[in-house]
């Protein structure tokens, strides 16, 4: 257990409240423009299907950006993240006209000095989409 100035106690094993983000085609277009990743598998259903995907899929880096938002809302803003990592193990499928969930939970895995290590879990439609998702933050 670490005492941050007496104001806040954080324990190993503490859980960050679950949060659900919703991803739709409008968000994919906005992320494509903001990130510069205009790969058509994230916007064009016909193209996505032609390369063997079930439908348009979200950018892996969009799911990771949302994990970053989840983490930083807990830790106190974008400046608090020192490390962030994840494997993209399953696609987040985004059908036309639908909102697909990205459900994120997190646990405090370790505390070293002022650095807090988090283990993160992200699912979509009940399927785990990120593997080995981790962050190191200060809070």
């Amino acid at each position: 257990m670490v005492n941050f100035g007496g104001a806040r106690m954080i324990e190993i094993g503490a859980e960050i409240p679950q949060r659900v983000f919703y991803i739709d085609r409008t968000m994919l277009k906005a992320y494509a423009d903001a990130s510069g990743d205009q790969n058509p598998i994230h916007q064009n259903e016909e193209f996505a299907v032609s390369v063997g995907l079930p439908n348009v899929i979200a950018h892996g880096m969009l799911t990771m950006a949302l994990v970053g938002k989840y983490v930083t809302d807990w830790s106190g803003g974008s400046a608090t993240v020192h490390e962030l990592s994840a494997r993209f193990i399953k696609p987040v499928i985004v059908p036309m006209g639908e909102k697909t969930d990205l459900t994120i939970t997190g646990t405090v895995a370790a505390i070293e000095g002022d650095r807090i290590k988090l283990d993160l879990v992200a699912t979509s439609a009940g399927i785990k989409v990120l593997g080995m998702a981790k962050a190191v933050v200060t809070k």
Partner: protein
């Protein structure tokens, strides 16, 4: 098939890349972040991915960008990115291996601002066979 001689090579970006407030604002807006005094933690992928594309699609290396999927990603952030940062970018092809008909490329990106290392990131990119 990717040229195996490219493994271990570091490529310096041809140009300096300056981050604008509007780029940070647009990236933050997608994820619902209203504080844009610093960039969100994954913002640097905007810079690194375009570097990777320009390097890996050179004829001497030969990656077909349309067959690429992202396998994993790691960021080490030494300080947050802010508007006005001007980055010198370098990218290194660390490993290259063939697995089940796919080629798997591990690349590293280092972003320096006026001599200071700001973000290092590692990406595994899979070229589907």
């Amino acid at each position: 098939m990717i040229n195996p001689d490219s493994v271990g090579r570091t490529f310096a970006g041809a140009d300096l890349v300056t981050v604008t407030q509007s780029e940070i604002d647009a990236f933050a807006a997608v994820i619902g972040e209203s504080n844009t005094s610093v960039a969100p933690p994954t913002f640097s992928i905007r810079i690194s991915l375009s570097q990777y594309e320009s390097i890996l699609t050179q004829p001497e290396i030969g990656v077909d960008w349309t067959r690429l999927v992202h396998g994993d990603q790691k960021f080490e952030i030494f300080r947050p990115i802010v508007a006005g940062d001007t980055f010198k970018c370098s990218a290194t092809i660390e490993t290259l291996r063939a697995v089940a008909g796919n080629e798997i490329i591990s690349v590293r990106s280092d972003l320096h601002c006026r001599g200071e290392l700001v973000v290092s990131s590692w990406s595994t990119l899979v070229v589907r066979g």
